[in-house]
Subunit: 247 residues, 2 copies
């Protein structure tokens, strides 16, 4: 019960093939837009660039519109094509993925709003950098989308593992900011704002992990949500060819 | 293009009718379990009841299992019955709703985990009560589920409005806790834990609002996500009978 990239879209109707292919590429397009939003939000945060932050806030409208379009596209295919088996799983995975992408967009917007808030707060002291954590989170999304594009279970499992690094980085930043607050209570408002931003980046990791889980479901028909990493690696390996497919 | 409760489930196949009816009632069952989780989490928080908190943490497994079951049920109906129009919108709304219910469950678990954390933190001073905010959030979920059960757009719109009250309560609690932190830095760890709990309750309001939006989509076939409250009330009223239906 495994499914390769080539198993989707082999239908008598050429147009149906094209619709499924379009759906996949629209998801990747939305993913790309969201990735850009994250990258810009991080740059805005690191450079205190309020103009860039404002453009991220404005850009969330585009992300929202992409969500609605993709949901409609899924509805249309379900109604017209009555997909079965692997195609149905694809639609299902897309419906779920799109929700997570939209919420990642919200988190990027949240980081950008923090930048605008911080512009009004006297900087108490030099900030801990969140560049590394932000890059980790963005790379995680990139990898999850890549796993989706290539239907690559091994890459999806890596997303799971790497999310732990984001969590660890978040904990470190949180601890540092708490120390600042304890040392100098005048930094509390400032530090809390930074904590919101760090938490938003941490949530991006969680949503990317969700997307990776849908990929595993899509490829294997197995729902691995709410299963420990070790357990799902075991489950998945039972099904994998001895050599992971090269792409 | 409006849809009443009775428009769903009138099919030649008696079994199909039953499947849709079961799906609806399983969503409401999951909603009830999640509501119970919220209520218990709030009681555990207010009474510092670590035993109850631990049972909420354990109970999240049940919520997760209900999510997987409901997703599978939706997949099965999509594959076998190839639903169209209103039935398809029902399935779509259920797929989305179930994700939000599961995440509300996660937030209840987060509150419960805070209770366990707090048990190890010396209480610096008397806590601001979150009973009111928690009750508001729980009632919001209850109302959203009620709107789903009765396909009641007016009730769904009320959820939107009432979420503002949850946000306002959250802001007040946040301000109070920040004041504590500034007055006495020794309270910072304790106060931050309480802020996590308050934020989790606030998120429950957001997820309930999402569910209310799916109800409007389900009944009217109009997607009102990412539209301002005023705009959607205007849109919806254009479609509503002069007298809202009594239930």
């Amino acid at each position: 019960m495994t499914l390769g990239k080539d198993d989707i879209g082999h239908h008598i109707s050429q147009q149906y093939n094209q619709e499924l292919e379009n759906l996949r590429s629209h998801v990747l397009h939305m993913g790309g837009v969201v990735e850009r939003q994250i990258a810009d939000a991080i740059s805005a945060l690191e450079d205190g660039d309020t103009q860039l932050a404002a453009s991220v806030v404005g850009g969330d409208l585009q992300v929202n519109a992409l969500e609605l379009n993709l949901d409609e596209e899924c509805s249309r295919i379900l109604a017209r094509r009555q997909p079965a088996a692997g195609d149905l799983r694809l639609i299902f995975a897309v419906i779920k993925t799109v929700t997570d992408l939209e919420r990642i967009g919200d988190q990027a917007e949240r980081v950008a709003r923090t930048v605008l808030e911080l512009a009004n707060v006297e900087p108490g002291r030099s900030r801990p950098t969140m560049r590394h954590m932000g890059d980790l989170a963005r790379r995680l999304l990139n990898k999850a989308l890549d796993a989706f594009a290539r239907m690559d279970v091994a890459a999806a499992l890596e997303v799971e593992r790497e999310d732990l690094a984001v969590d660890k980085e978040y904990e470190a930043i949180l601890r540092q900011l708490m120390t600042y607050m304890m040392e100098d209570p005048r930094t509390i408002t400032w530090a809390l704002n930074l904590i919101w931003a760090a938490r938003a980046l941490e949530r991006i990791g969680d949503h990317s992990k969700n997307i990776a889980e849908y990929v595993i479901y899509l490829v294997q028909g197995k729902d691995v949500r709410h299963v420990s990493i070790e357990e799902r690696e075991r489950q998945v390996q039972g099904d994998m060819p001895a050599q992971p497919p090269t792409v």
